[in-house]
């Protein structure tokens, strides 16, 4: 069996074309594919569609984020649960471009976003959910009653690429996530034509217990070992506290 491991993040993202749609996993720090995002930033692809929980923020600790891609106007469309900062006083590059009409920003409830991605990876074209009924996000969409309750039709999401961060991978691309690192990762890995993975450790096939694998390798195209490729294992931990560590 041929190994899916490639030597560098650059090699992993080498084929990403202009105009690609890209799922970017992560919720806060855990499970965020910082190295693949940084490699995509260097690679230069433009006119991108990004699908993620959020994509607006740039950081001042040297970590490249999708916010940097947005800032450089290489993103033409986003599908997110957050298109603005939760802090009204902070403005993100995405907000500026959205208000200037230079980017198409679709906001979607987070559970609807997750289910749209799950459905995409599961071969389901659309589904009904109660979330958002009676609000702006349901306007213009098909509604239907089931059991006396009103639901809104939401369509599945599939994409050209998924950028994934995992704890352990084997050379076939079987993946294991650690704790809340899992978040969007397994469902995004299933919803992309080409799933690219940065792994904190890469092991030989046979070393992972088949019962404990979260994402089967058949959903994965390329794997990079973060330590062997010299990537960032984790961003500065204090960034996780948003300035308010518990004492």
């Amino acid at each position: 069996m041929e190994s899916k491991v490639v030597a560098s993040f650059e090699e992993a993202v080498a084929g990403v074309e202009d105009g690609s749609s890209i799922l970017v996993a992560g919720f806060g720090e855990p499970g965020s594919p910082h190295n693949l995002v940084a490699a995509l930033y260097e690679q230069g692809a433009t006119e991108l569609t990004l699908i993620a929980n959020g994509a607006g923020m740039t950081r001042d600790d040297g970590v490249i984020t999708t916010g940097n891609l947005v800032e450089e106007k290489r993103v033409r469309r986003v599908v997110l649960a957050f298109t603005a900062s939760t802090h009204p006083s902070r403005r993100t590059p995405l907000e500026e471009l959205n208000e200037a009409g230079e980017i198409e920003a679709q906001i979607t409830p987070q559970g609807t976003l997750a289910e749209r991605i799950r459905a995409g990876g599961a071969g389901i074209p659309a589904f009904f959910t109660p979330a958002g009924v009676g609000t702006e996000v349901a306007e213009g969409k098909e509604h239907r009653e089931f059991g006396g309750r009103t639901y809104v039709l939401e369509e599945a999401i599939v994409a050209d690429y998924a950028l994934i961060r995992c704890w352990k991978a084997d050379t076939f691309g079987n993946l294991v996530f650690r704790r809340s690192q899992r978040n969007f990762n397994p469902i995004m890995a299933m919803a992309a034509d080409c799933t690219l993975v940065e792994a904190e450790e890469v092991v030989e096939v046979g070393e992972l217990d088949p019962d404990l694998i979260h994402t089967p390798g058949i959903f994965v195209q390329r794997v990079v070992s973060i330590p062997e490729a010299g990537g960032i294992l984790q961003a500065p931990p204090l960034a996780m506290f948003s300035g308010r560590p518990r004492s």
Binding site: A105, G111, R182
Partner: protein, 223 residues
């Protein structure tokens, strides 16, 4: 209003609201102030904190020394796991919400209305917003509690007869904790159950955009 009267601190608000949680409840805490509630669970109760990123059974917020880059709550802040914790992916975390397993979602808000509506995703004059999991939580959880400051930074009321901002969900709020007291939306008014020490009902009324009706057994907020 007494010059000494001080609004409740964020920790006091979180602790008072956490005292409403019943033993065994499954509770989701929203980004911002609500995530403080997991630090204030009464000792005689076990609460199963659920977060959108798939952590079922987290506990209090972690210190810098305890934090790991692997375990965060719905506000992306490091937390500790309980011994009964389990992890699911994002879609299953929301399956739990839609399936009706949450006893309560505690959410922050920009506005709370007397009719149980609330708005917490987009502020006035902005094009973008932050829905996060709020719309799913608001229609999936059995109850929605709000935790917010009673007025805006420039002193305008956040508790209103009807929301002016775009809604997150309609008619779902059952309890509202602010830095002036504990309220229940009652249709066209807010029922004031508990009041911050040092404030009168008139003080609270002046800072509220809907009628405030004190409960017959109105008491001071204590934790």
């Amino acid at each position: 209003m007494s010059v000494e009267a001080k609004r409740l601190t964020r920790d006091l608000m979180a602790a008072r609201l956490a005292a409403e949680f019943e033993d065994g409840w499954v509770v989701n805490l929203g980004v911002g102030m609500p995530t403080r509630c997991s630090d204030f669970v009464p000792e005689d109760r076990t609460i199963i904190f659920h977060s959108e990123n798939g952590v079922i059974g987290y506990g209090r917020n972690a210190t810098v020394e305890e934090a790991t880059p692997y375990v965060v709550n719905g506000g992306a802040q490091p937390v500790l796991l309980t011994p009964f914790a389990s992890i699911v992916h994002h879609s299953d975390a929301f399956a739990i919400i839609r399936r009706g397993l949450l006893d309560v979602a505690v959410l922050g808000a920009y506005e709370a209305a007397a009719n149980g509506d609330f708005a917490n995703w987009r502020i006035s004059g902005r094009k973008g917003g932050g829905i996060g999991g709020a719309m799913d939580l608001a229609v999936g959880a059995r109850q929605v509690f709000l935790l917010l400051e009673h007025t805006t930074r420039d002193g305008r009321p956040r508790l209103l007869e009807r929301c002016a901002l775009p809604l997150t969900a309609a008619g779902v709020v059952t309890l509202v904790m602010t830095d002036l007291g504990l309220f229940e939306p009652a249709g066209d008014s807010f029922r004031l159950r508990e009041i911050a020490p040092g404030f009168t009902v008139d003080d609270v009324q002046q800072l509220t955009g809907a009628p405030v009706v004190p409960a017959a057994d109105l008491s001071e907020v204590t934790v």
